[in-house]
Amino acid sequence: METPAPDVPPEIARFHGAWIGTWGDDIRTVLVVERVKADGRADVIFAHGDSACYGTYREWWRAEAKIADGVLTIAGKAMLTEWLRSLQYAFDGPDRLFQTSTHHSGGVVSGTVLGGRDAAIIGIACGTRCMPLSYVYDRRHSTIESIGGGAVTTLVLSVRVNEEERALLEAASSLARTSLSDFVRRKALEAAEADILERRIVTIPAKDWEAFEAWANRPPEEIAGLKDLARMTPTWQK
């Protein structure tokens, strides 16, 4: 790792460090930005783990990336994973990058990678196994889509099913004349909403119980919204 020179603009220098996370909900991935230069070039190490889900094997390589307009890109000859077209990273928080991979097959998969210059994270990224990798994993994933010129961020949730379940879901989505993804999303949300609405037991964390009791036992209060509601005439009386 080489500390950025004073002439490196801060928007480029901030990429310097080690970034680690998961990708496609399954693939452990590491990006180490070893060196950044004032013109936006960066020396990086990229690595990913095995994934039975995606049928990929671990690999790592060094390459030169480009940083421009707030995005670090590895593409073209620098891309040494044969099934990937490009990798792009953009900040989603002070210590959070979104990794978006574009595949030759046309697929786009994104994941969050956490990191920075923290010694523990750099250690993990560089191979130190002093703590479980899952310590810094973030299971939130997202795909950034562009709709009508505006950026809309949606989260990707991977669900594992067996072949029989997948066939059933595909048949049902076909009957509903919708995509498998949209069908699963819609049905899952319906079920989630129904469960939430029916939640009859509300649990307060034990550490907060006394404070909750204090809140519950405070004197009665007049509430403006309730007073407004009390004054209205129901539609069946109009």
């Binding site: 909403e193 509300v202 119980w209 209060e221 509601l229 209205m232 539609t235």
Partner: protein
């Protein structure tokens, strides 16, 4: 605006199949579960209807609920508090042809009055609801609900004592 019936208990002959509030989870629950829950007493559903056609305009559901402290290992359990009884305002929905006419807040007022009256006979600390999106949260917030403190899933509540103090009862 169509003439509306007084809120009344759901009956088996009410045409639930044609009800469409635009939200499939609420339609599905009403069509598949409302009557079964109503008959066995798990929850009570009241409906308002178009006085001329008897088509259902909206429904609201109340049931018993409780607020409890999270589980603690036995070694840490000391003076375990009793759960706090409450009332759940589970579902409130208006047919899409009748939205924007004041039926939702009318049914909310009906539900709060019903819950307050019932709490005089069977104790209940407050009315809880679980908004499923920000627009629903804003609706309940407008009419006096607040986030239930310390509840990680952002349930909303209004206390019975506040309903009483604010003049909700007729």
């Amino acid at each position: 605006m169509a003439e509306v019936t007084l809120p009344g208990p759901l009956s088996e002959t009410d045409d639930r199949a044609r009800f469409d509030c635009g939200r499939e989870s609420l339609n599905h629950w009403f069509q598949r579960h409302a009557w079964a829950n109503h008959t066995v007493g798990i929850s009570r559903t009241n409906v308002i209807c178009d006085a001329a056609t008897a088509a259902i305009i909206g429904y609201v559901t109340l049931s018993a609920a409780q607020i409890e402290r999270a589980f603690l290992p036995k070694s840490q359990q000391r003076n375990k508090p009793d759960p706090v009884p409450a009332t759940l305002l589970g579902q409130l929905a208006i047919h899409r042809d009748h939205q924007g006419k004041g039926h939702a807040r009318s049914l909310l007022l009906f539900a709060l009055r019903t819950a307050l009256r019932a709490s005089r006979e069977i104790g209940s600390f407050g009315v809880i609801t679980h908004p499923i999106d920000d627009s629903v949260r804003a609706f309940y917030g407008r009419w006096g609900f607040q986030d239930l403190p310390f509840e990680p899933h952002r349930a909303m509540i209004v206390r019975m004592v506040d309903l009483e103090r604010s003049g909700i009862e007729q």
